[in-house]
Structures are given as C-alpha cells and as structure tokens.
Amino acid sequence: MALKHQPLTVKLAITALAMFGFGFALVPLYDVFCDLTGLNGKTAVTAATAEAAQIDTSREVVIEFIARPNKQMPWVFKPEVTRMTVHPGEIHIMNYLAENPTGRMIVGQAVPSVSPGQAALYFHKIECFCFTQQQLAGGKNMLMPLQFYVDPALPSQFSTITLSYTLYDVTSAWRGDSAEPSQLGE
C-alpha cells in the first residue's frame, strides 16, 4: 500500500524542495534581470571606462542630484549643486559634501538609485565614492567625488535623470579592508 504511493510522494516532495530553492534563486535572477533592464534603477557597482565617446552637443540632459542620509545615519550629506545640464558624452565631476558631526568614527556606504529606472543603463560612473565604504572620523568633513558621463545612446524620451544617493551607517559591519580613506578634506 505504502509502496504504491511512494514514487509520487517523493516526486511531490522534491518539487516542494526545488521550489524552496527557487525562492532563493529569485535573488540572483532578479539582479541579472535588473542589470539587463535597469528595472530597479540601480547603476553599475563597478567603474565604467571613460570611452572617448562622441559628445552629442545637439541635446541637453538635466541631471538632478539628491542625497540623503538614512534615518540611523548621523552624517550631513549633500551634493554641491542640485542640478546640472550636460551634453551626452561629456565627462563631469560632481562633489558631495559629507560631515560627521558626532564624536566617533563612522563608516558610510552610499547606495545609488536612478530614476527613471531604465535611464540607469545609460548613466556611467567612471569614479564614485559609492564603489567603496567611506570612513570619517568624528567632527571631520570631506568632499566625495563622482565622475560620470551620460551615454550618447540615451533614448530621446529621457530629458531629465535623477540620481539619488542614500547613505547608510555600516560601521558595525565594517571590516576595514574595503574602505580607502579619502585624501580630500582631511
């Protein structure tokens, strides 16, 4: 009696286990899907090469900069200017001001998000403070640079790109190896 049911029961149990695995497989699948489509507005986590791209002077794109520290992050964190008009292909440098008003060293990690999401595929960062964790001693401030260009292949429906950074306090998870202290402002 029991043997009669065993093959099907085992198959169904394996299906359930496989679906448990599938739940976890959704995590990398989602990342890949987002990398390909820019669905979640995430920019690349590694530096883009500064290609000698054709500068498209025929059109302008407005870049808006938003920066905000996460609720638990005591740093002051803001961009030097809030908007900038660029031609696609031009390389620009933008500085962010960070200030640690507390008396202790805090390590921050900035996480970028681009809106509209699909424009993230065309926003290239040659150098960014968000690639590494940033440490700042208490009472100090620094300028954190971002070097970027907008891909001339940017579809014409995008005339404004908003780049938003949220800064997180990651001191508790800091291992000390990934962060390179910035020379600026020290």
């Binding site: 009669k4 049911h5 099907l8 029961t9 169904l12 149990a13 299906t15 359930a16 286990l17 496989a18 679906m19 448990f20 695995g21 599938f22 739940g23 976890f24 959704l26 995590v27 989602y30 987002c34 489509t37 669905l39 979640n40 507005g41 995430k42 986590v45 996460n70 990690q109 996480v111 809106s115 509209p116 999401g117 699909q118 949220t166 997180y168 306090d169 990651v170 998870a173």
Partner: protein, 529 residues
Amino acid sequence: MSAVVTDHEHDHEHHDHKPSGIKRWFYTTNHKDIGTMYLVFALIMFFIGGAMAMVIRAELFQPGMQFVEPNFFNQMTTVHGLIMVFGAVMPAFTGLANWMIPMMIGAPDMALPRMNNWSFWILPFAFLILLISLFMPGGGPSFGWTFYAPLSTTYSGDSTALFVFSVHIMGISSIMGAINVIVTIFNLRAPGMTWMKMPLFVWTWLITAFLLIMVMPVLAGAVTMVLTDKYFGTSFFDAAGGGDPVLFQHIFWFFGHPEVYIMILPAFGIVSSIVPTFARKPLFGYASMVYATASIAILSFLVWAHHMFTTGMPVAGALFFMYCTMLIAVPTGVKVFNWVATMWRGAMTFEVPMMFALAFIVLFTIGGFSGLMLAITPADFQYHDTYFVVAHFHYVLVTGAVFSIIAAAYYWLPKWTGNMYDEKLGQWHFWCSLISVNLLFFPMHFVGLAGMPRRIPDYALQFADFNAFISIGGFLFGASQLIFVWVLVKCARGGEKATAQVWEGAEGLEWEVPSPAPYHTFDTPPVIK
C-alpha cells in the same frame, strides 16, 4: 443524546477499532476524524481572528485614539490577517478536502494517513507560537500580514523570530496536506472514476494542491531570508548591503498571488457542487469549469506584480501585468456564467447552503469587479493601500471563501452528523450575515476611493460616519456567526434524521453512503456508473 448512544452502538457493531477519549484524536489516521479536527480548528481560529477584527473596528468606530495603542492596533491587523488566511480559510478547506475527497472518489481513506495526522497536529503549535508572540515585550508582529522588508527586518521586534517559525510550520503543514491530496486523487480513485468524471470539488482541490506545492516553499524561503537579514547579517533586502527591498515584494507576491487562488479555487468547487443540487440540474459546462480552473491557476503565476504598481515599473512591465490580470476575468467569467446557466430553468429551492452559494456568486463577483478596477495600472495609484483594497479582498475572502465554507458546512453537515440542521436558525444566520457583511464591507469602497489609508488606527474626520456604519456592520457580522455555532452544536447533538441522499437533487458517491457517514467508507471500491 440518544443519537450519540446509537452512534456508539453502531460503531461497535462494525468493529471500528479506535482508541477512546482524547487518544482517539491524537492518534487518529482516519480522514473523517482529521477532517473534523481541521474544521473545528478553523472555526476556533475564525473566532480568534474575528475577535481581533472586533478590536480593529472598535478602535475605528470613532476618529482619534480610543482603546488601543497604535502599535497594538498594528499587531491586530497583522495577526488578524495571518490567522484568517493561514488559520481559518486554509485549514477549513483542508478539512473539507479530508472529509469529502476520499468519499467523492470512492477511496477508503487518504493515501498517506499518518502524514495526514502529522500535518494537522503541527498546526495548533504554529498558531500557539504566533499567539504567544503577542505577549512578548514589545508585542507581536506588527508589520502587516505581508511583512514587507524593511518593516519586518530593520524595524521589527524580536517576536519576528517566532513569526518566522510559525509560518514555517504552517507551510510544512500545508505542503504535507497538499501532497496527501494529490497522491490520494492520483492513486486512490475507484475503478471507473476517470479524470473527467471527478466532482469539481475534487478537481479544484487537485489544482489548489499543486499551487500549494509550488508557492508555499517560496513563502518559506521569504521568511527565512527575513530571519537571516534580521539576525544573521545577510542583506537580501537591505540596500546598504547591496540588497533590494523591492525584491522582497517580488518574492512575497510570487507566493502571494497564487495564494489568493489557493483560497478561492476550492470555493469554486463547493459552489459547483451546491448549485446543481438545489437547481436539480447537472452542472452546465463541466469541462469548461475544469479548464477555467486550470487556466486561472496558470495565470496566477503571471500577475504578481499588480500588487506592486506603485514601486515604479517600466511601462511595458506595468502593461504586461495589467493585461494578464484582466485576462483572469475571462475564466472567472466562464465560471459565473456556468453557475447562472445551471440555475436557468432549474427547479430551484432555497435551503441555507443554496442561499450562501447564491450570495457567494453575487458578492464574489462584486469583489472580482473591484479587482478589475485595481488592475488598471493608472487607477491603482489612487486605490493603492486604501480601504478600497480592504473592501476588495474582504469581498473575495469573506463573502467569497468564507461564505463558501459556511455553505459547504450546511451542505455536508447532515452527512457528517446524520442529523438535519435547524433550517430556520440557518436562515437567520444567512440573512443576518448577508445584511451585516454588506454594511461592513460595502462602505469601505467609498472611504477607500475618498483616500482613507489602510492599517492606520486613526483617520480624518470626514470618514467618521462611514466608519461608524462599518464598525456596526462588523459587530453585527461577528455576532451573526454565533448563530452558526448554535446551529452546529444543535445539529451535532441531534435533530431530524437525515437520509443517505440528504438533498433531493444531490448526486455523487458521498450521497450513496448512509448518514452519518460510517467511520470507514468504501473499503471495497464502489461501482461507478
């Protein structure tokens, strides 16, 4: 009382060896015992979850804070949702499956009776864990039954660990129950019970069981990720560590949308059993019902992101999920059409099961229509997270799933107990429920469209009158369910003896065994006409 004594004598005559007293219920592997336990458990959970709804409605009776703290209010909305979904509706359907599926397909019992016992008995512990978490310092889970990250990771209390374990246990119980249903239906159908002769309740449950096996493990994965994010330093949903909170919503709704069909497909099966009986006509479009159920199940995997339109999505994605969602209206419409066509020129009578089934058809359709409104992406931005959503899912879950379960209880109660229930009390139960449930949920559409947000213990003064109506409806609906308990107890204790067929128009194997159904049925397979 004489009925009970007769039952015992009856049992002894047939040499039904079962331990007496409490041991019978702990050790039982009998599908009828386990079905009864599931149903009683679901009823108890329905009242516990209902009591929490009463707290919510008492607080919302007037604007301002009256009775509870906002944190406790959030715990009530969260645990009310969890208990009603996982503790009341799903176990009630599993109980009906246990009782009815073997009898409907001519099987002597469920295929895996020991696992059946286990899948029931871990369930009370799951809910015990969930309920005691309410008494922890800082209170129980308060992030909504959808436990979105970071509410459940960064901002939750330590009761989250208990929540996660209780969801794990519920999931294991559901998966074992689903495996049992599938194996029973595949392997134990009586000779001659071909696929397309199976009653629709069996068909809908078979498809539901496959949905359960596909998505409950994904839920288990989601709660596990919440647990490791919160306690073990992973960053599945934490942006600071490279994760993405929106990913949580994708994983959750990949489970969550099929889950809502898990809670409605068996209801379709119940209504498809009841309507032909009381219309005294065979079901119109049997094959189309089967195909419609299967297409709803398949489509349910392609629509999850319609819960997430406001997270920001490319237009192509929004359109895909909008059209797929609207496509579900087609097979659902086929079902409603078939039920109405079954009644067309039927010799209808209106006993309590039929009344609840009719109310199901009308009110579930209203819930379906508000679902279509929510599916319209641009309009959803207005409706999202308002009471309109609350109205929608209570129409499909209370007047849909719960009404179907009540209808099923009235329909099969004479088969279970051997006694007819009190028709007059049952009609009182029906009319009180029907009126109060609409007083309760219909005005929610209006306050929702006007912008009242869900899960908030206070509201703007302009919503005061509507909320007072809603709360009164809520209290009346809660009180009406006490009539149901009265009917159930009265019927279990005695009453007019039921015949084997019970209902004049009833057809199917379960109506060929005596009432009450003997402890063991179909030890030798029946002959299928």
